[in-house]
């Protein structure tokens, strides 16, 4: 009886499914969010790993993930701008990170004011970027080669500056502002401001213990949570404003889809700020990463220069004939990644409490991989900051997860390579289907 009913229903169900798939464009959804889905899947796998359940999502591990990958986010942002111009990459960033760090550390070690050193490090990055950009934009040296030369040269200069020896940083303020140590968190000034509020966070307060959990209640960082909630509110207001404007202009949009994505992102933001609040609070490096990502999200989507980056990568001749000085666009991209390499140098030096002549090796490759996993086209013209963030996170989670479940360090790079290959393959395949 049951069997025959099932058999009868089967074709109807199949039709319903295809109807459903077409109506809600499930295929298009998967295509658009492949890497996001992969990120979630990978996180779930590590979370459910037998014997290591939930470890990767513990607050210290999340903070660690951000601290360890700060340089990837910063450099990949710059790399994305270069890749947009036509799949051009910058191989020199690893060396520039180390060189800028080396100069800054040496200056601080000889007693120069820390802020002067910071400005010098950023300046060095910018100058090197502008110099390499000049060769690429004005003298038409292929970017690959100009930056390969830079990669050798600045690694060499680093050794010259440091005599091949490590330089330590003792400046506490520098380490606190840019580093990832114990002091490098935004202090909980809200709890510290009043005894009354501070008094809530005891193990006797059953309501809050129920909410936060016994382990974290006494150390809970209220400031971080408040910042997180404020960010969520600002995010929701901006999204709603965007939806309303689009409606007024009659731009076709799926409002349920937008609301679902808005709620999901807001939930992730709340969850993240909660996790951070449970451990030491808001790390300074997250502030720097957020600042960089926010600025460049804006640059790529809202400014004329951002538009020119995409246009040059899409069709350089057409862009030049539209009155855009295309060579200056290249110059901008490379000067810009130099500046960001300077910042990454500061962060790397602060995290390492000093600088080794080998720091920064392979950083360029991590940045490039994050961009391509995040859906940037190897021919330029397409790619988003949001995609790059997901690419960097995916790499970071895989790294962290492999350490947690105890994969042999020798195999970790193999896995990274395979992930890169698979990610780009999915991307290429889904784009080919669209035709």
């Amino acid at each position: 009886m049951m069997m025959s009913e099932n058999v009868k229903k089967a074709p109807g169900f199949k039709q319903n499914m295809t109807g459903f798939m077409q109506k809600y464009r499930v295929g298009a959804f998967f295509q658009k969010y492949t890497m996001l889905i992969a990120l979630v899947a990978v996180t779930v796998v590590f979370t459910c790993w037998p014997g290591k359940e939930g470890l990767i999502l513990l607050p210290p591990n999340i903070t660690g993930l951000i601290a360890e990958n700060a340089y990837v986010f910063v450099l990949a942002t710059g790399m994305l701008m270069c890749i947009l111009t036509g799949g051009n990459i910058d191989l020199s960033v690893g060396s520039v990170v180390c060189f800028a760090g080396a100069v800054g550390c040496t200056m601080m070690a000889s007693g120069v004011n820390m802020w002067v050193a910071v400005v010098v490090m950023l300046g060095i990055g910018l100058l090197i970027g502008a110099f390499q950009g000049f060769w690429i934009a004005k003298l038409h040296v292929p970017a690959f080669i100009a930056t390969l030369a830079g990669m050798y040269a600045f690694r060499g200069f680093t050794n010259v500056v440091m005599n091949g020896l490590r330089v330590d940083i003792t400046n506490e303020t520098f380490l606190n502002v840019f580093g990832t140590g114990k002091g490098s968190y935004i202090p909980d000034f809200i709890r510290n401001s009043s005894e009354a509020i501070n008094g809530w966070f005891t193990k006797d307060n059953t309501a809050l213990v129920g909410l936060i959990g016994e382990n974290y209640i006494t150390k809970f960082n209220l400031t971080c949570m408040v910042f997180g909630l404020a960010a969520v509110i600002i995010f929701i207001l901006m999204r709603v404003r965007k939806i309303l404007i689009q409606r007024r202009l009659g731009i076709s949009q799926s409002i349920p889809g937008q609301i679902v994505s808005m709620v999901l992102i807001a939930a992730v933001m709340i969850w993240l700020s909660f996790q951070l609040s449970c451990y030491r609070g808001l790390p300074m490096v997250l502030v720097w990463i957020g600042l960089v990502l926010g600025i460049y999200q804006y640059v790529t989507t809202k400014t004329a220069m951002g538009r020119h980056l995409y246009a040059v990568g899409g069709n350089e001749k057409a862009t030049a004939l539209s009155g855009v000085k295309t060579r200056n666009v290249y110059w901008f991209a490379y000067a810009n990644i130099g500046l960001l390499a300077g910042l990454a140098g500061i962060l790397t030096a602060a995290r390492g409490k000093g600088i080794d002549p080998t720091y920064g090796e392979g950083y360029e490759m991590d940045a490039i991989a994050a961009c391509f996993i995040g859906g940037a086209s190897a021919y330029g013209g397409t790619g988003k900051v949001s995609g790059m963030i997901i690419g960097a996170l995916l790499m970071g989670v895989i790294n962290k997860g492999m350490i947690i479940i105890g994969v042999d360090a020798n195999f970790q790079k193999v896995v990274k390579g395979i992930v890169l290959l698979l990610a780009v393959m999915f991307d290429v395949m889904s784009k080919r289907q669209k035709r």
Binding site: Y310, G314, G323
Partner: protein, 514 residues
């Protein structure tokens, strides 16, 4: 009745969401030249891709019967084995390789691990002679012109022992002379018994060369016209089948032509080739355009028309440019670079919309605003609402067919891409518009719409320079016509005095160096 060589029966081919071919029936007799005509997107190329195995057996419905056998091609190799060879519109030649290497690419003589170069080059030379090329097969492809490259493609097809040759728009990038030579070559092959299918937009060529003409519209074969008679089929007759209605007037009338003062004046304009600076590409040209006027520049391909326009447009082509330019009566010195030309109110709408005109990977919106971002941004920050409104306005004005202005330009048809390109330059608000082959490669219906836009531009007081190698278009659209040949202006006449015969006579005369 001659033997039927090929019959395609009830071919239906679907792509996700679109039926590209719907129950198509198509017959080709042995030893004839069969033309396939239709608007862009009508399904001609899809049909030929089914025939040549690019869309393998099983992805379409229906049967291909070739020489009495039902064929199931799984790839191009299968169809080539039977002598069905297709020459695509875009030439598939490697510029840095020799003619011989190109001809046997993927089909190498001798053994896979030991190529017989002597045989390659001697065989290649044999086939080159058959297509009337005197070049050695050891010449590099990049050293010969497009016309000759097209002939190499044909020689390559012959080397594959073609029995049924399919030519997809073989003359689209050739000048009139080379086109004619190619068509005559086709006729001489026919005498030797070769069967050919030609796809073309150029209806005069079709009626010249074809024995039978099949019209395709919206994925179906509409009619088959016999062209064996002494009197060739008229273009109007073919167009009627293509668009499904009589096109009584191919060029819209202009109402109330008001022509004002001189807007742009160029005198003694000379441009040298960027790579061979001793060669003059444009030689002492003087011209002017008035407000509200459409000036046609007619010339064969290679006459220097594009080079003239681009050199005026901010020296974006050429070196050692000399001559003077006046805009609104004032002498101006345009700096190198398109941005300065745009500032002076000049716009150049390129003939190569995919290569030089549009960013195909970006949306209609982004392309529309690209040349005039200042107008929609403040302190370098783009106002995306304003941008959307602008793109939407031009979409409506130019009747661009698209679901939304967020659509990627690469997904649009040729005619709609051309409209986006025009929208981009109209939004730049120029006084002078240099339109270079604005209707190249687009179908009859879209052409008419582009003509209407040109008329509107002139009526709005713009000065329009219309560069074209289609004589009827220049005659039908312009108020005044310049005739260009070998870098020089060889004639100027008012539209009402001009005829095809007069213009061709001037060009022939100048060609003889008199």
């Amino acid at each position: 009745m001659a033997k039927i060589l090929l019959e395609m029966k009830n071919i239906t081919k679907e792509f996700p969401g679109v039926k590209a071919l719907d129950d198509v029936n198509f017959k080709v007799e042995e030893g004839e030249i069969h033309a396939l005509v239709g608007e862009n997107g009508a399904g001609k190329s899809t049909l030929m891709n089914v025939l040549s195995g690019i869309y393998p057996y099983g992805t379409y419905e229906g049967d291909i019967v070739y020489e009495g056998q039902v064929c199931k091609f799984h790839n191009i190799k299968d169809s080539e084995k039977l002598g069905i060879v297709i020459i695509h519109q875009e030439l598939a030649l490697v510029p840095e390789m020799t003619i011989g290497e190109n001809m046997y690419l993927g089909n190498e003589c001798g053994h896979k691990f030991s190529i017989d170069w002597n045989k390659t080059y001697s065989e290649a030379d044999k086939y080159l002679k058959m297509v009337g090329l005197s070049e050695s097969s050891k010449t590099l492809i990049k050293d010969i012109g497009t016309g000759k490259q097209q002939l190499v493609e044909i020689a390559k097809a012959l080397a594959k022992q073609a029995k049924l040759l399919i030519l997809d728009e073989p003359t689209s990038s050739l000048n009139e002379e080379d086109s004619r030579a190619l068509l005559d070559l086709m006729l001489s092959f026919k005498k030797q018994g070769m069967t050919m299918i030609i796809i073309s937009h150029k209806l005069n060529e079709v009626s010249y060369v074809a024995d039978t003409i099949t019209v395709v519209r919206d994925g179906a074969t509409i009619e088959t016209i016999d062209n064996h008679g002494t009197e060739p089929v008229s273009e109007e007759r073919i167009i009627k089948g293509m668009v499904g209605r009589e096109m009584t007037n191919r060029f819209p009338r202009r109402e109330d032509v008001v022509i004002g003062d001189t807007m742009l004046e160029v005198s003694d304009w000379t441009v040298h080739h960027p790579l061979y600076p001793e060669r003059k590409v444009v030689d002492g040209v003087s011209m002017y355009v008035r407000k509200g006027e459409v000036v046609g520049i007619y010339g064969l391909m290679g006459a220097g028309r594009t080079e003239l326009a681009m050199s005026i447009f901010g020296h974006t082509y050429g070196t050692n440019i000399s001559g003077s330019m006046k805009i609104k009566g004032k002498a101006v010195k345009v700096k190198k670079g398109a941005d300065d030309a745009i500032k002076h109110g000049i716009a150049y709408v390129t003939e190569d919309r995919k290569g030089n005109g549009l960013v195909l990977s970006q949306s209609i919106k982004v392309n529309t605003s690209l040349a005039h971002l200042d107008a929609i941004s403040k302190h370098m920050v783009i106002d995306s609402d304003k941008e959307y409104a602008v793109a939407e306005e031009y979409r409506r004005k130019l009747k661009t067919k698209t679901p939304s202005v967020e659509q990627l330009v690469g997904n649009l048809s040729g005619g709609n891409q051309q409209k986006v390109l025009l929208a981009k330059w109209m939004f730049a608000e120029p006084d002078i518009m240099l339109l270079d082959e604005p209707t190249r490669g687009i179908d009859v219906g879209a052409k008419y719409e582009i003509y209407c836009i040109i008329n509107d531009l002139a009526a709005a007081g713009k000065s329009v320079v219309l560069i074209s190698s289609e004589l009827p278009e220049v005659l039908g659209m312009s108020d005044r016509i310049y005739i260009m040949n070998e870098g020089k202006f060889v004639g100027e006449m008012k539209a009402e005095d001009a005829t095809q015969e007069k213009i061709m006579a001037i060009i022939l005369k100048s060609g003889r160096g008199e």
